[in-house]
Symmetry: C2
């Protein structure tokens, strides 16, 4: 039953994807702007639907953080509208010639950017994901199938209706973006098996959702998994710079994946650096967990003993592990062993050590003398992002419009045959 | 049991991959040349082991084509040696800066090519795959775990020993390339579950192997699946050119994935083109299957009636489907419906139609006025290939050294923090 329903959905999406792949940039941008206006006009309807979801969540005893993620106020609606308009302003990646190679036999081999095709998004309770994903997939020429969580279904439907109405007026076929209203588990399972109809699955949400999707999917998955990010303060670091970077990486916004969870400090400067740094952290309410040498240096302060499992925990909170290391090697080994290959930084004035660190630390983003907090589509100049890949294939780090494309080879000849 | 064995293997490979990723080009090339010499020196041992495999295959009643794929003569051994040396000559892609973006805050964001990590190859009875994959993975900085079929195990072990001996003398750690000698199904299953230890699985072999791997794998897979390739002869085609391209695409080497399986001919020229073309094909022993209009035009010749299932069959043989179409649209629709997105060509003198065809046909390689037979790493200027991807993510079409890499962002700052 779910498989049949899914087949109908993917057939529609596949047909739409063929047309979307060759739709002009002008037309796509016009649709994006129309959808922005559509969401704006449907503001009251969207907010009312959202209140329904919130009432249900409160009745169900969901925690305040959950309800906060679910809530759509005027500011969130404004945000969706301006996001749509911003995406309309971004450069269209489709059709870019990535490489051109004239062969000795006269064949001209061009590598040309094309959309991936049909993208499936499985997400939880943030309703603005609905608008984000439609905008980015449309601009990059992909059809998208959205399966949001049951907690946000009324909000998602209201946002979808507003976008759909505007898009239909512009002649965009229904398959270009589809919201699945059936929030059953069976339908997700059917979706993850639809390898003929969907080219890529992107789960967005908590660890357990992502693990389930990765476990079950027969379709390629790009995951946005956890960020265990490190800052290593080298012996040759500028102390003031190190202090600012570490503080920013931990405390500026602790609830995000690119925030620091563990600070590594070279033993040669630990005695000078740690007391100043600890004071700053403690003042800001950061709970510190340290190795034995850290706790020695910070005697008298309330520093908990850090355990191995702390080093693999994504706190997303004002908690920080501190470890004193004897060398750059030891820092790199710690990151290889406990890190999640997301974002890691070195603070150093030594260019040799900086080079060694960036070569050997194999994370999606490796920083020299900057905060890990910059791992973000906007900060990297991509304009917008659909997620941050912690996988190694196809896309690593922030995924913008370009990362939602693949390529094909277009080969122009004048009668060449192979001998 | 198999899972434990696999864990040991992947741990060794992962450690080796870390070192390989930063090994200098000079060192990698030196190892490649040493391995070429090693295979050359072990020639008699390799041929003797191969004879064992062949005797077993003959006793087991394997067909001549199978035994042909399995056989290693002096020419095949020479081929492996020269391949290794050629790979040593290829440009090392690791470390290439793909993109550089200086941000308004002064951060310099570079996108740098890095190896994928640990690659698993599951293959059948061609023993030269053992040498090919080791060479290409080593040059691109990846560790590789090889699991060949039981039919070629003696040959694979002999080739492996020769390479291993030479590589060890050069100090390359054992984990850099590992041949799994356990050819049980349980071990393959364990391999496909080892998502922490292996980053990419590439199956090489027949349809059923590929399907099984894709079905079971918890690790990203890039498949080299079937090629249902088309040549469309447009109304504005140069007849002589069309004849040569179609003949080459079908008959030059029919047993390969980029050979044509279906020829589409515009109705306006079918009456003139088909009789000449058919004569040439029939003379070369090609069995023709045609639509009703084809059979009308070719009345008197022995043309079988083509069925829908023929259009999705990869013959890999001197058999060809022919269909007369009323328009470019109809040709494109046929390719979308029946094709495998591998390689498709248009022969036309009309640049508008050529553009329409290359935009709308979404295959890994789309040709204008050239044979589909050019879809090949060497022909595209990649120097060597590990396979031809029929998937859409990460790599499409011929996969050379670059396609065996991914990237990371290296961000250089001067103390930047996020506000």
């Amino acid at each position: 039953m779910s498989n049949d329903a899914m087949k109908k959905i993917t057939t529609k999406a596949r047909e739409a994807a063929r047309k979307l792949g060759i739709l002009s940039t002008e037309k796509k941008d016009k649709i994006l702007r129309a959808m922005a206006d559509g969401i704006d006009s449907a503001r009251e309807e969207i907010k009312k639907a959202n209140e329904e979801d919130i009432a249900k969540a409160e009745k169900g005893g969901k925690n305040p953080a959950f309800i906060d993620r679910l809530r759509l106020g005027d500011k969130s609606v404004d945000g969706m509208c301006s996001m749509m308009k911003e995406v309309a302003e971004l450069k269209d990646p489709v059709g870019d010639v990535l490489d051109r190679n004239e062969r000795p036999n006269g064949l001209v081999v061009e590598k040309v950017r094309v959309p991936i095709g049909v993208i499936g998004i499985i997400y939880e309770s943030r309703p603005n994901v609905t608008a984000d994903c439609v905008a980015l997939c449309l601009k990059s020429g992909n059809a998208v199938i959205l399966r949001g969580g049951s907690d946000a279904i009324a909000s998602n439907k209201a946002i979808y209706r507003a976008m759909r109405k505007a898009a239909s007026k512009e002649g965009l076929s229904e398959g270009a973006f589809i919201l699945i209203e059936d929030t059953s588990r069976e339908l997700v399972d059917a979706m993850l098996k639809a390898s003929d109809g969907i080219d890529l699955i992107m789960p967005r949400g908590g660890e357990s959702l992502i693990q389930q999707v990765a476990e079950k999917s027969r379709i390629p998955v790009i995951k946005h998994y956890k960020g265990i990010c490190h800052v290593y303060v080298d012996a040759d670091a500028d102390m003031k710079m190190a202090e600012e970077i570490c503080f920013n990486a931990k405390a500026q916004r602790p609830g995000v994946c690119n925030a620091m969870e563990t600070m590594l400090v070279h033993e040669r400067i630990a005695g000078e650096f740690l007391p100043r740094m600890a004071e700053k952290f403690i003042k800001a309410g950061v709970v510190l967990k340290g190795c034995s040498r850290t706790r020695e240096i910070l005697t008298g302060r309330d520093i908990k003993k850090v355990k191995d499992e702390d080093f693999t925990t994504e706190y997303l909170d004002l908690i920080l592990n501190i470890r004193v290391v004897g060398s750059l090697d030891e820092a790199i080994d710690h990151i290889s062993r406990f890190g999640s290959d997301h974002s890691d930084a070195i603070v150093t004035g030594n260019t040799g050590n900086a080079g060694e660190f960036t070569r050997r630390v194999d994370s999606a983003a490796v920083y020299v003398n900057a905060s890990t907090r910059f791992t973000d589509g906007g900060e990297f100049g991509k304009g917008a992002e659909i997620g941050i890949s912690t996988d190694r294939l196809h896309a690593r780090g922030p995924m913008g419009l370009e990362e939602l494309t693949t390529y094909k080879y277009v080969v122009n000849g004048s009668g060449q045959v192979r001998t």
